[in-house]
């Protein structure tokens, strides 16, 4: 019984060390647990896959570096899929701190497929106003973004000649870490301008997105790092990319982290019941 009492007083530093080691170990030596794609990711993949070549896919980069490990792999995988399918990609963002992340993606991913900025990909940048930005894009993208993130007038970019407003875009994917995010795109871009929409969200906010998925307002959903890993697997399985899959690699760490937390909860509860029974 003394042992159980000790269990209730595990030093938090021991917990931190165990957690740290179990997160780092699989990143150094992958366990190869594997990821199978679920129905939500497959629906989004199929929707993007069905867009005719040459059409534009809108990607909203609504996250910041704090959720980068969860959401950036989604952004990269969706972009790779789009380029492999010869789609044009238009990026914009409602989070000012996400501007650098979209810039990173625009700089790194298109060259893998020989795509050129201005012809195949355009990054509009960030503008204040959230809902007003989306509503404005619904009327005329040039009213909201006269120039792109790098200062080029939109008229000078070949890709933007066919894209005047949201109705010219067959589908969007909102990759969101919170508010503003996919709900704003749903409320305004989808309900008002009929933009077909998929979403990628952090694991903690995935539960909020389920009702929109069931009603069909969201075409597909990538939930957390697992969602990103599922999409990466789909993209590779279909031969669209051979790039490193960061989300798949990190899933081993996440698995072990979950197991550690569950074991700690079990230990904590057993010790709690033991000590409560003895009235200590």
């Amino acid at each position: 019984m003394k042992f159980l009492s000790h269990l209730l007083k595990i030093d938090r530093r021991i917990i931190y060390i165990v957690m740290g080691l179990l997160v780092i170990f699989p990143l150094v030596k992958p366990l190869g647990l594997g990821v199978t794609s679920g129905p939500r990711a497959t629906r989004l993949f199929d929707a993007v896959d069905s867009i005719p070549p040459g059409k534009t896919l809108l990607i909203a980069v609504d996250f910041d570096p704090s959720s980068m490990p969860e959401l950036y792999p989604m952004l990269a995988a969706v972009m790779r899929h789009a380029f492999a399918k010869d789609l044009k990609v238009l990026l914009c963002g409602l989070w000012v701190t996400g501007a650098g992340l979209a810039d990173k993606a625009v700089t790194e991913i298109p060259p893998e497929y020989g795509k050129k900025y201005g012809d195949d990909v355009v990054y509009l940048g960030w503008k204040a106003g959230i809902d007003a930005v989306i509503l404005g894009m619904g009327e005329n993208i040039r009213n909201v973004f006269p120039t792109d993130y790098y200062g080029h007038p939109l008229e000078s970019l070949a890709m933007m000649r066919d894209v005047q407003r949201l109705r010219d875009i067959p589908m969007g994917v909102a990759i969101s870490a919170g508010t503003p995010g996919y709900t704003d795109w749903l409320n305004f871009a989808q309900s008002r301008y009929g933009l077909k929409l998929g979403a990628g969200v952090t694991a903690v906010s995935a539960a909020d997105a389920y009702p929109y998925l069931q009603t069909g307002q969201l075409t597909g959903l990538l939930a957390g790092m697992k969602g990103g890993a599922e999409y990466e697997v789909l993209v590779q399985k279909n031969g669209y990319s051979k790039a490193y899959m960061p989300a798949v690699a990190a899933m081993d760490s996440q698995s072990l982290a979950h197991v550690v937390i569950l074991l700690l909860v079990i230990v904590g509860n057993v010790a709690y019941f033991a000590t409560r029974k003895r009235g200590t």
Partner: protein, 328 residues
């Protein structure tokens, strides 16, 4: 008048925007386009307001030497540096480093002159920081001068073309914001583990239910739980509860194990003593798609109806809290 005009404006705008939504006439569309432009302009003013509030708060904190005032200096310096780079797209690299450095050094000297005694502990570290920044600025200056003197061809950014996504902005974003922001979020994993161990107790029936749901979803949503049959998961749970009950002699654990065992037996009978083909991820999916969704949908509807009611009250002037508590 101070209240009547805003109330009238809200009433007119609220009603016209509601009507506009249902009228696809060019006049209506033009009106809508105009108002969305207004919203964006007002949004830009909010940024100015926010920046002003930020500067006032931190300068006041520094002036009054409140706890943690040193961090306020860092916050203001960061604002100045990042804003300068954003506001001066054609600025030379060395100027971008030199100007904020000069501002920090000047501010430091002013503070030192005013209260040397209180700052003795910080003097050394501030000198090191300011000295290092000054050296970088001087190096940048020297490169700029030498490049001009000898006609060196410097990269576009170094020669005077800083643009969004350029070298200096990327340095700040990649080397400051990304690691700081990611570290703050990553620390959560450790706190969550510690908090779950200390606070996640099955003290009540509701807490026990939450615990069970958390176990199913947390294991079911990661690859390690992908091939676990739900039936065997429950069998292990019954065994674990029974063992824990024996060790701790807690009645609640025995009751839990007994109830779960009876449930399993009923399930087996229903499946004619074959193992049900339900996997743990399927169960996690069910938890998310059925009970979770029912609760979420109720919340979403409640919030939406509440939003409509509040909006109507504001438009019709019944709710006037947004006007503030000042006199008429």
């Amino acid at each position: 008048m101070k209240r009547t005009i805003p109330l009238a404006l809200v009433l007119i705008m609220g009603i016209t925007m509601m009507i506009q939504f249902f009228v696809p006439h060019p006049v209506s569309v033009g009106y809508y386009d105009l108002t969305t432009k207004w919203i964006r302009i007002v949004g830009a003013f909010a940024l100015v307001l926010g920046t002003g509030s930020f500067i006032m708060f931190h300068s006041d904190k520094t002036r009054r030497r409140r706890q943690g005032w040193g961090y306020s200096i860092v916050a203001i310096a960061a604002l100045v540096v990042v804003a300068l780079i954003g506001l001066c797209p054609r600025i030379m690299l060395w100027w971008a480093v030199f100007l904020p450095t000069a501002a920090v050094v000047l501010g430091l000297l002013l503070v030192l002159v005013r209260s040397v005694d209180k700052l003795k502990r910080f003097i050394t570290i501030w000198y090191v920081i300011a000295g290092a920044a000054l050296l970088v600025a001087l190096a940048g200056f020297a490169v700029g001068v030498l490049a001009g003197r000898f006609g060196w061809r410097l990269p576009h950014e170094l020669a005077g073309g800083i643009r969004p996504g350029s070298i200096l902005q990327n340095v700040i974003f990649t080397n400051f914001l990304v690691p700081l922001n990611a570290s703050m979020f990553a620390i959560l994993a450790f706190y969550m583990a510690s908090a779950a161990y200390r606070a996640f107790r099955a003290r009540t029936r509701e807490a026990a239910l939450l615990l069970v749901a958390a176990f199913i979803v947390m294991l079911g949503m990661v690859p390690i739980g992908a091939n676990v049959p739900f039936f065997w998961f429950l069998v292990v749970a019954v065994a674990a509860l029974a063992v824990a009950g024996l060790v701790t002699r807690a009645k609640a654990l025995f009751i839990g194990a007994g109830m779960l065992a009876v449930g399993l037996l009923v399930w087996l009978v229903f499946w004619k003593f074959r193992i049900p083909p339900l996997m743990l991820p399927d169960t996690a999916e069910w938890v998310l798609s059925v009970p979770n969704m029912a609760a979420k949908r109720a919340i979403i509807f409640g919030v939406a109806l509440g939003g409509i009611a509040t909006s109507l009250k504001v438009i019709l002037g019944i709710e006037r809290g947004w006007l503030g508590g000042g006199k008429q």
